[in-house]
């Protein structure tokens, strides 16, 4: 085959001409002042989170909820720095009878597309959520909802199946409750992201002016937002999505982005502490890590050859005496996790230090003598063999170091011999509820910011752990706090429940994840609070 120089030149020439001709063929509506150097208060936020869907009915994950918190209004919401909820686009919200929760909307509410936001939209929002009941969605949070009525344009009445549900106001600020536009969203199917963006169906603090799934979202402040959180302090946000935490770290470290939020590894955060271009901001996180005990299969469990509930309890208590949370938080997680001595996450109403008071040296440290005494008093001859399971692909590679540390701590005084085992996540998920693991690692991120969400799912009969824990007194106490209308009394009851479950130790809370954001030196307004909602609006530089 012969390619002459003339032909090559002709080809290059043709390409050049094509490029010049094509240059006149495209127009773009995107683009503004550049990226990291964008002036006028625009900020770039980087994350490794992923968006599943912009439709609240079709997603129940952190990545999607972060977007929803920026663009959708809520009836009730938590103000910056506060875990409790108060009216957002509502004027008032209260129980008008034990099974009726009435919300009055502010007048003149509008979506960014000009559509009026009325009680009809609110009713539509909840009705469709229940009707669609998407497997990826949060419809399960509305299990106590019987019906929704919209007697007039600004009044919404929620009828509940069980009266005085004290978690209901929190559910109205949860992933099940972003208010959507009935003129844009489908009543019986998850609405595609493109339709939502095209319909400009937003009434939160921001609108979306450019959207590329899991690549880039460009937000502009919504001038029509009338909620209680106030207007955005910046002129826009570009959210950039990274697949790899190391790329996110490099981007924030180089100053390519202004904020990195979720999820940098502990070592990345540690190394960025020495970077003069950035600062680390942290706040309480809702995520907790704990060990679950299977009451049937753990040492001396109900279905073992040496079944003895008292001895099984002694084993759990001795383990609680020996675990050194501080060491793990510091050495393994570089203080991106903090020690957890409460069943309700620290920072939430109702959080206590019950496990610090009851176990170990009383100051959060281990106590070998105490653990020895517990076992001895129960008539247990050391060492007790523990088969402890953990998972590295779901809870992160540091889980290996974390559980290696527990093994060392538990074996140090000769009371226990620990066999560590790791299993891939899908198999782990099946095995853990099939009585395969005597004791195992698990994590939890709350559905909504209420202490009950750290109690009912774990300690009620037939809880999701399926660990055969059943204490009728605890069960009754949880039902009681869920319907207690006096908030002070409710918190007292929540404290009492934690004392009860601390004695039983069906789970052993160990660590609580911090929310960590790495931001540029000139970025202000980063707010990480116990609402566990990361809001872009207060950010500025």
């Amino acid at each position: 085959m012969k390619i002459s120089r003339g032909r090559l030149g002709l080809a290059i020439g043709a390409l050049s001409v094509a490029a010049v001709v094509l240059s006149g063929c495209a127009t773009s509506t995107g683009g503004s002042d550049e990226g990291s150097s964008s002036g006028g208060g625009d900020l770039i936020v980087g994350t490794t989170d992923k968006v599943v869907s912009l439709d609240p009915a079709g997603s129940y994950d952190n990545g999607s909820f972060v977007v929803m918190n920026q663009v959708y209004p809520f009836l009730l919401n938590s103000k910056y720095g506060d875990a409790t909820v108060s009216p957002d686009i509502a004027e008032s919200a209260e129980f008008t009878s034990p099974t009726e929760y009435t919300v009055k909307l502010k007048k003149g509410l509008k979506f960014a597309n000009g559509h009026e936001l009325t009680s009809s939209d609110v009713k539509f929002t909840f009705d469709r959520m229940v009707k669609i009941n998407d497997p990826n969605g949060p419809a399960s949070l509305l299990g106590n909802l019987a019906s929704v009525a919209a007697p007039d344009d600004t009044t919404v009445v929620f009828t509940l199946k069980n009266g005085n549900d004290q978690t209901w106001p929190l559910i109205l600020s949860s992933p099940a409750a972003p208010i959507v536009d009935e003129e844009v969203f489908s009543p019986d199917a998850v609405t595609p992201d493109a339709d939502i963006v095209k319909g400009d169906a937003f009434a939160g603090q921001y609108t979306i002016d450019s959207y590329k799934l899991n690549e880039l979202i460009s937000y502009k402040p919504n001038k029509d937002y009338q909620g209680n959180l106030g207007p955005a302090q910046n002129t826009g946000i570009q959210a950039k999505y990274y697949a790899d935490a190391s790329n996110l770290k490099l981007a924030i470290g180089n100053g390519d982005i202004d904020v990195a939020f979720r999820s940098l590894s502990a070592t990345d955060v540690e190394s960025l502490k020495g970077n003069s271009k950035v600062k680390i901001v942290d706040g309480p996180g809702g995520e907790i890590r704990y060990i679950v005990f299977n009451f049937d299969t753990m040492p001396f469990g109900a279905k073992t050859a040496e079944a003895d509930p008292a001895k099984a309890l002694a084993v759990r208590q001795a383990m609680a005496d020996l675990i050194d949370r501080n060491a793990v938080a510091k050495d393994v997680y570089k203080d991106t996790y903090s020690p957890l001595y409460s069943f309700v996450a620290d920072g939430m109403p109702g959080a206590t230090t019950v496990l610090k008071d009851m176990y170990g040296d009383g100051n959060g440290g281990p106590d070998q003598a105490k653990a020895e005494k517990v076992l001895k008093d129960a008539g247990i001859t050391a060492p007790v063999t523990l088969n402890l399971q953990y998972n590295g692909d779901h809870y992160g590679p540091s889980s290996g170091d974390e559980y290696a540390a527990y093994k060392t701590q538990l074996e140090k005084g000769g009371l226990f011999k620990v066999n560590l085992q790791q299993t891939e996540w899908v198999q782990y998920s099946k095995d853990r509820s099939a009585d395969v693991y005597p004791m195992y690692q698990l994590g939890w991120f709350p559905d909504f910011s209420d202490p009950d969400n750290y109690l009912a799912p774990f300690f009620m009969k037939d809880n999701f752990l399926a660990n055969h824990y059943d204490n009728p007194a605890v069960n009754d106490a949880i039902v009681q706090e869920q319907t207690e209308t006096d908030q002070a009394k409710r918190l007292e009851e929540i404290g009492q429940i934690q004392e009860m479950v601390a004695k039983d130790l069906s789970t052993l809370p160990i660590l609580q994840g911090k929310q960590v954001a790495v931001v540029g030196k000139n970025v202000q307004g980063t707010t990480l609070d116990a609402s566990f909602k990361f809001r872009y609006a207060p950010l500025k530089k």
Binding site: L22, T29, G31, L213, L216, N247, D256, W425, V426
Partner: protein, 360 residues
């Protein structure tokens, strides 16, 4: 996959001409028909392998739901049906052109193929250009300096280039040129401004460089090219190693031909002999191998795109694999299989036309 450079110099086989004159057409037909079992075997393998690794619902909700609720969700999604039934449904869908909708982000697989396929195509083109730029001159030098230190060095470099794991080469390039020197971007196809520009184009091609040229936006063109350098080099090196050895071998072969010796005796300069007389005939096998390298490039694209967050088909494949999204993975693999099979088919046909040594 490495290609044996020596294969290009395989003994020339006599062409077996069909008496009826339909030999070439039969050859084309056979090659075309062979695409079907190739794709079918791959689809079947991927389908059953994906099912063995678990279902996406357990992967997402295994730590939150009781076993009975989890089982109910799996049942509702139909993942507890007999595998053969699921397989039959899937094949029926493919035959109707329906690759399904992804489980994790509810996008039609065809839309994903279109959106991200262009990114991979762009990367493959860049990589091919890099491979040619590196391999042609170095291959010529290696051939011209045969068995001297330059040749030995280049041969070692070529082996290193295609033997080095692509993710390692990528990480190394990133470490040096992005982190230490700060010359080139760490990841992505463009900076935030470019990405915004691209997402605002009315009729995008998906090829960022072409779209930036169409916009006539100089900074965007420069930015796109800057972002392309490291991924293109990482992926291109892999192919460059193969090309370099192939060019060297073929040019050595042609340098020994009678017409080259005659040219030399007539006083044609060594440079001209090398770059014109010996080099051009040696290019034919390169064109053939170039087609076969598409499979190598697509395989390499998964690692390159993941390393540099180049959001193409390879990147998406890795993402969907992590979330065990059956539908997406199957769709992407089928697409890759079809592309590779069709490309190889075209290469075979082109080779049959231009190379008299090809038998049919």
């Amino acid at each position: 996959m490495a290609v044996d450079a020596g294969a290009a110099l395989a003994p020339v086989q006599p062409r077996s001409k069909s008496k009826g004159g339909g030999g070439l057409w039969r050859y084309i037909l056979v090659r075309l028909v062979l695409i079907i079992p190739t794709v079918f075997i791959l689809v079947t393998t991927v389908f059953f392998l994906m099912r063995i690794t678990g279902d996406p619902i357990t992967a997402a909700l295994g730590g939150r739901l009781p076993a009975d609720q989890l089982a109910q969700r799996i049942h509702e999604a139909g993942y507890d049906r007999p595998l053969i039934v699921q397989y039959g449904d899937y094949l029926a869908g493919i035959l109707h052109g329906d690759f399904g909708t992804t489980i994790t982000d509810r996008r039609p697989v065809t839309a994903i193929l279109l959106q991200y396929g262009s990114a991979t195509l762009e990367l493959a083109i860049y990589a091919l250009i890099v491979a040619l730029i590196i391999s042609i001159p170095l291959g010529l030098i290696a051939a011209y300096r045969r068995d001297r230190w330059q040749d030995a060095t280049l041969r070692v470099m070529a082996i290193l280039a295609y033997a080095t794991p692509i993710f390692f080469a990528g990480l190394l390039l990133k470490l040096v040129f992005s982190v230490w020197l700060g010359w080139l971007p760490v990841s992505g196809r463009g900076n935030t401004r470019t990405e915004l520009l691209m997402s605002g184009i009315d009729t995008p091609t998906g090829l960022y460089l072409l779209d930036a040229i169409r916009l006539g936006n100089g900074p965007a063109i420069a930015d796109v090219l800057q972002h392309a350098i490291l991924p293109a080099v990482a992926l291109g090196l892999l192919t460059a190693g193969v090309f370099l050895r192939l060019i060297r071998t073929n040019v050595i072969g042609t340098l020994g031909q009678q017409y080259v010796t005659s040219g030399r005796s007539r006083g044609v300069s060594e440079y001209r002999l090398l770059t014109k007389h010996a080099y051009r005939p040696a290019l034919i096998p390169i064109i053939t191998v170039m087609g076969m390298q598409i499979a190598l490039l697509l395989a390499g694209a998964v690692l390159t795109e993941t390393t540099f967050e180049w959001k193409g088909i390879g990147f998406m494949l890795a993402e969907y694999l992590k979330s065990r999204d059956f539908v997406a993975v199957q769709g992407i693999v089928v697409m890759i299989a079809v592309v590779v099979a069709v490309t190889n088919f075209i290469v075979d046909i082109v080779a049959a036309f231009i190379d008299p040594r090809v038998r049919y």
